[in-house]
Symmetry: D2
Subunit: 475 residues, 4 copies
């Protein structure tokens, strides 16, 4: 939830689309709440009521943004929604989604999970022929390509997507349809569900659970799914590409109770934990999780190792907004504001501490110190994924390569840095073995630097000069 106390990669977005439900925006709202773990900074909904396309976007949590009167204005049987985690400092609202435009064919809105690797080049080209951009989002490039295109909305979407490269799970809203699209490599998840005859698109199945909807199937890599008054229609206009589904969805991003890429997520995490116990066994008294990210792998580890699992760290549920963007004076207390060791479980014990990943290592270092002070005799850190050594360019917020501790330290050095008696990562082989689908369908770029669609190095970097402005304010 916070950069500071939570040393994780962060998924940048979750998307939702609802077609044919009398309370489309309420259903979208609930789905976004279920997808809140995919982005907590801003959220938005755009609905169409048969005549008008209405938008509401704001900074903050879904539950705070979409209060009664706001939902009442978001009328209609069709709606799309978006939650976003973002890293840009100023002008954040400008970059909130869904992105909505009014162009020659009417209104169009789009919600995007993923990241394009050739957005800079395309933007340069578009600006050179007179396009004016409103935001710094790669998503806006898609909107301009559509506005400059020809034919009906569907043809324009296909032609626009033919020009972009990289990761996208998209939901478009036009005045008469919803169009869902997933890039040919299938980086990010996107599913289709049903509710009372209405069609629902969402990033994860946990959204369907909340609304008591029914899971139908995954949107396929490369699929463009049109939903309108005639029903569903699938198009596969692009050449087939090698799969590059994000393996980190199984490791950390997805909610453990979601079905991802067609398979339940939770058993995969259990399997990572069990395999980790096989690869890195240790003689210990108790296995504890870094809550909640490490909890599923902890169950797997403890069972396989035959060591009792216990609650070794107590998590505060009341972080508020301010601690998320903390003042300097509070930073000293760091992770302690969120986690406290449960001394009776730890004191005098040999502890196995399980988490899903280490990014910078600074938070893990604080946690190990805390547990040591609480009296642990030994601390053995176990990580249910391989060392992350490369930034992601496909829709995940990652630090630079230099900040990734595993990119410049050996495992032994990292163990010393975080203060652990031992440190064990899940091996690449172990990771591939536990996956519920063919291992070569996945992207492992953050572990091995092997980028399926490399970012365009020659992207002309025209710095934005405008609008590091103070946020404009309404009445």
């Amino acid at each position: 939830m916070s950069d500071l106390f939570d040393d994780h990669f962060h998924d940048e977005c979750g998307v939702v689309g609802v077609y044919g439900h009398p309370e489309a925006s309420t259903i979208t709202h609930l789905c976004l709440h279920a997808l809140q773990h995919r982005g907590q900074e801003s959220a938005g909904i755009v609905s169409f009521d048969g005549r008008n396309t209405v938008a509401h976007r704001a900074m903050g949590l879904v539950g705070d943004i979409f209060k009664g009167p706001v939902l009442d204005e978001l009328k209609g049987h069709t709606a799309i929604g978006h939650v976003r985690y973002s890293t840009t400092g100023s002008s954040m609202l400008k970059n909130a989604q869904p992105f909505a435009i009014d162009y020659s064919r009417g209104a169009l809105a789009v919600a995007h999970n993923g990241n394009l690797v050739n957005a800079g080049t395309l933007r340069y080209e578009l600006e050179n022929v007179g396009s004016i951009f409103q935001s710094t989002m790669d998503t806006e490039v898609i909107a301009h390509l559509i506005a400059k295109g020809e034919g009906n909305a569907e043809e324009r979407v296909i032609n626009a997507l033919a020009r972009v490269k990289g990761a996208y799970s998209l939901v478009f809203l036009t005045e008469d349809r919803i169009i869902a699209a997933r890039d040919p490599r299938g980086w990010r998840p996107l599913i289709l569900g049903k509710l009372d005859g209405a069609h629902v698109i969402a990033s994860e199945t946990c959204a369907l659970d909340l609304i008591e909807g029914e899971y139908v199937r995954d949107i396929q890599p490369g699929e463009i799914l049109v939903i309108d008054k005639h029903g569903l229609r699938s198009i596969f206009p692009f050449p087939k590409a090698a799969g590059a589904m994000c393996v980190f969805e199984y490791i950390y991003f997805a909610r453990p109770d979601s079905r991802i890429f067609g398979e339940d997520c939770y058993p995969v995490r259990l399997a990572f934990g069990a395999r980790l116990a096989q690869e890195h066994p240790v003689d210990a008294d108790v296995v504890i999780a870094v809550p909640d990210s490490g909890s599923p792998a902890t169950v797997g580890y403890a069972r396989e190792a035959g060591i009792p699992m216990d609650i070794g760290l107590v998590r505060s549920h009341y972080m508020g907004r301010t601690f998320i963007e903390p003042a300097q004076t509070i930073r000293h207390f760091g992770v302690k504001l969120k986690l406290n060791p449960n001394t009776p479980v730890i004191a005098g014990k040999r502890v196995v501490l399980v988490d899903d990943s280490i990014v910078r290592g600074t938070t893990m270092r604080k946690i190990v110190t805390m547990i040591r002070k609480a009296g642990a005799k030994e601390i053995h850190v176990r990580i249910s994924s391989p060392p992350v050594m490369w930034p992601c360019y496909y829709g995940i917020d990652t630090p630079t390569r230099e900040e990734l501790v595993a990119s410049h330290q050996s495992v032994a050095e990292t163990a010393k840095f975080i203060g652990a008696d031992s440190l064990g990562y899940l091996s690449m082989e172990g990771l591939r073995t536990c996956l519920p689908r063919a291992a070569d369908e996945f992207c492992y770029a953050c572990f091995n630097g092997d980028y399926p669609d490399p970012p365009e190095e020659k992207t002309p970097v025209r710095q934005l000069h405008l609008f590091n402005a103070t946020e404009d304010k309404g009445a």
Copy 2:
């Protein structure tokens, strides 16, 4: 200030530009305050600090919007500003100016006073080739024409203006210059001044008075004035056109202490009043003004007529924001919230009541009723302009023709409608005679329907479908 209690035409905008002053945004801020009578709904400033173009726009009065911290962020030696009166209901902030874009040549901002008569046609053409509009303002058309143009900023501005028709007094800010432009007919005023070696552009001279600057000259009709590090450069790229300066600037819009179209405004209003006394004399005890719009003409009338002038209506200075957008329950009290008769001046007297114009007539009717109740024996209404019978398409907010009382009632009928014992308007001939410049240089369209640049009747009306949204909100 308010639609409800103030039955006037409203100027829609005031503009400012400052080049070469270390506190450019503070100077702009003060000038905007002096021009506040030209627009009270929203205000904005865009400044350039040598690297970044920073914008701040908000709903409300200049003095409330640009507080210390905001001005501190608007750094740089160059700035432009805008105040706006607008009539659109929703999404008002979206239409606040200066309008600022980031395009292929860098950042550009523009502040506009006036109104284009072919904006709809141009927008239709632009959208058809893929331009995406962010607002409903005609000013955005100019920005798109510039973005799609060729050459440097100056050439692009000239080429864009070559395509538009109608009224514009414009100030552009680019990353290295300020460009001021006034349409060939010279509808709206625009002046050039100096302050400590810096150059200042403003709608009226009263802006210079406040900052203790020096008036240099008017920007000429059809002139494009470029201000950059090399100094000032004037271009007259367009064919000369017959003058159409707005005569209502002398009647009501401009501050009485401003110099307009090169001449002091106040003596012109005195002359209107004096001529009105000649054209419509009456035997009376006292001359009173509708404050403050009727005050200058009242002085002229009273002097010419030799009747004592007195304070017959007391004005409240504390209207607040709420009364400006009043609830239904308050409407009943109408103009009484703003004006109260001063009984000792009125009771038992034959009163001449002077104002500058009558638009719908409803407010004047309430004022006459109020004065009658306060005991006036006779009430003779005198108006220091001819009857307004036609809407304006050149940057003034006017009601439809049907709402203009003089468009469908004779003077006698109007006198009866407002409850006056007599009613006299200044004649067209009288108006022309009192003007301090050649009478055929002016636009009289609101009086006689003779439109120099008629609005394009064939404008394709594509209704906007998007964004009758709830206003998006920042963090």
Copy 3:
């Protein structure tokens, strides 16, 4: 309206009470708007609906505070209201009125115009027997005396007022009546009116004008007027005292269109101006007012002197809240933000400049400088009251004696200080002559230091230790 640009004494309060009207709080609201000139910092209304006593108080203008939903909650046939001008910096809301308590006899609210001179002594006594104060207002002392009293509400009010000294025009609301009270010397005005069978109490008659009510009579000095379901009942429980009506109500505080102390205010101000012309004639070309405070006396002066009156200073109507509490960087521009000289009226002329009073002299100095720069040949300042030399302790916000320019400078020195060619004040004799009632019924303490009820010098000053807190904030 602002400390900075408006060098006047300020009335601290206006009060209203309504009994027996189905829309009591709306009527109160309108009356407060008409009394806004008596206090612009905070406002409040307390109503009683037969079961509950409901309060709303806030900082700001009446028109902004009492929006629809708020008035809807202030139900009932009885209400009282208050506007306040105050000087205390922090914790201002705490001191907003009406002051409301819940004590052993039920709910009680009170609105107060005036100032007690023995509040410190009484507060000291009350705290010593265990009373806990919520505010720093002298008005709270009255509430505590009532809470500790005996008998019914009426007896408690009388007994409480028997103990206080100084100036008070009060309106109490209890669960079954309104009680109005005016101190025996009658310092501040208080009037009784009627509207559709309901009874209305207000500080000035202009409140009745707005609601189209009828003036009945003044509340008499020393009168306690009880309004309940049996009608009106007057009590005069205190010994008769020499009158001390505030003469400054005629000079400046009251709205010119009000009837004060039973007489129209406007003709008195005209008379001050005429007498001033007799006492201080001058050979000049034009007479101009400092708007709007000097306007009535200007009319009187110009007529008596036979010199034309004109509009020499143009006033901005758009000061906003921020300019009222200006940042340091804006202070330099001082009064120019509010007033601009009208050059055609002034240039080359011998000008008589009329205002009602001079307090510190700093603002007048800036105005004279402005007029001089606009080209006036001579500037003769005329003031329609005697020099103010003493602070007021009876409900007016005045600077310390040292700050009053007339307390330490001769008229000649002041003329030099403000830069005028000549300066003339109305004489005490002139002032007394023009009053519409017996001159010895008035308080002239601010002119001659003769305080009818001197402030208690021995007041034990126990400094308040609590709550120079940040303002607590609601959800």
Copy 4:
């Protein structure tokens, strides 16, 4: 966290005091964050800087209320703080604590955890002799008793507490000391700690963990502890009473990582779970917790029963403020917004579901339904405390007796109501056996209706008439 989705008793408050630390308010702020589980509705801090007593209170979470600038104003070496959970609808800020007054001996502030049973009687007496109350809190009665007392602050506190009955853990701040007090029965916890030579008072030890302070000892029942420049001084002025420590602190209220009543809380909860497994064994496949309230007992149950523990319910961490006070339309989704079943763990399994208590039973009913829909074969609910059948009068927010499901239903009926295959509560005997201190030192009133200090039945109920007002708002 929310009434709706969280069917628990709620502790109403947590208190903190810091004496002798240069950053007293920052330390208080951190301690309050650690105590946030004891109250999430409002929070406040009062500090003393040697001259002034400064207060800040607001609605919301600690982390959102005490941002940098606010803490900067709360200067001084001494501070007290409070978090509050409250049930009153309107006027909530008025009831935020610490309660602070300015009385004859200077400033005094008090933070209170607990509830007095004779506050109504005392208030009636105080109002009858003229005291004016500002809030509806029982805590204000203590403040008035102190204000009306005699002697120094310490004597006044002792005399005031001699008159009250019921539960109180109090921290007072005066201008030269901190006074902590715990009622003679010791209902609520209160501890003493140290940090860098400063003294810290807090409700629970987890506050000391966060600031890395040292636990010294519990404040004893009946103890009044004075902390001033001379150090610590203990007074036991009241007769010894039978112990009535709240057993629910061990069951649910306290953080599991706190030491409560001198003993670690977590092992007690483990023991409750183990004993529950002995008393209500069942043949099952998996043991799951209602997170997080049921988690510790789940560990104990699973271990004792030898059944694997797993994560059967996934909890959302992003509830926001709105869901806490949900709109009607959202209520339908109830607990689903917070909890989702983890199907792979549940489907086809015989599930033991453990929680700490059942209050109304409605939430448990929804959880059981959810788990059933996820495919559980059998659901056996186990509760680690006896059935709650009586409301609490000692500082806990409980529903009425009628709303407590166990007060009118047998265990079998409740099992049927919630839809479980079986339901087992911990027995009273089991509960008493697991406690780490003598069982007769505790209060069990919510289980058996045996109230140590019964609420005063004859409390004169004088209804409050005032201030069900709209909340007053600052500038």
